[in-house]
Symmetry: C2
Subunit: 140 residues, 2 copies
């Protein structure tokens, strides 16, 4: 068990949530534009209190410029436990050469073998993490 607790659900501290974020490589990003909500699986890298992702030009993901407010989720599940970390924050496409160079040095690998020309940075506004002990529903 990653975290010990008696109740089925434990709210994680920010530190615990970041540890999970840093040790995970893929999650999902939720975008909302013109009343339409979309969710995309994505690989990412947690660094310096932010998430870094890559996107190909022309994908919906590159459209964070329409609405910068995004939600990100990553989770893990094992036989007897599960966890989930959710970030609400703002996403922006890295523009300056310096920023892009710094991002490239972090070595975020592309998930699928296509050209990914944009780096997207997600800056958290709100972070929440939960750990679940899995099991059967109690008898009433």
């Amino acid at each position: 068990m990653m975290f010990q607790h008696d109740e089925p659900v434990l709210e994680l501290t920010d530190e615990q949530s970041w540890k999970l974020l840093e040790n995970t490589k893929h999650g999902r990003i939720v975008l909302t534009a013109a009343g339409e909500t979309d969710i995309f699986p994505i690989n990412y890298l947690a660094h310096d209190g932010r998430l870094l992702m890559r996107s190909a030009p022309g994908t919906k993901l590159a459209e964070v410029t329409i609405n910068e407010n995004v939600v990100f989720e990553t989770d893990g599940i094992a036989s007897d436990e599960a966890w989930s970390v959710v970030i609400k924050g703002t996403a922006r496409v890295l523009q300056s050469g310096d920023e892009i160079e710094a991002a490239e040095k972090l070595g975020l690998k592309s998930w699928i073998p296509t050209l990914k020309d944009f780096y997207i940075e997600l800056k958290p506004v709100q972070l929440s993490g939960r750990h679940f002990i899995l099991g059967d529903q109690p008898e009433r």
Copy 2:
């Protein structure tokens, strides 16, 4: 490899997507209410072209009554491949005794050991599935 294709991304047929949905037990549900987007990990059961989930009273999840339009995502990742299925649809809390009884007979297990008093049914309006071949970004 679950699906053979040459390009990095394959759009799956509905049949392929349902097969993946039926063989997976957990995903994430995205709810939007009053301009706020939330995402929750959830276990589910795919049956008869719909998804069945359970929710405890008082959770945000039970608030699908505010906005029935939800997005659901489930995915899987292995060393060299990944897949993701997204459903956009309408969710409703099962109300009638007959419906609840039928749902109970399907044997959807609760994920965490708390009392879950509601059954939520997700009826797809739009289904999309993709399979990814993982690998390094091509040289330019």
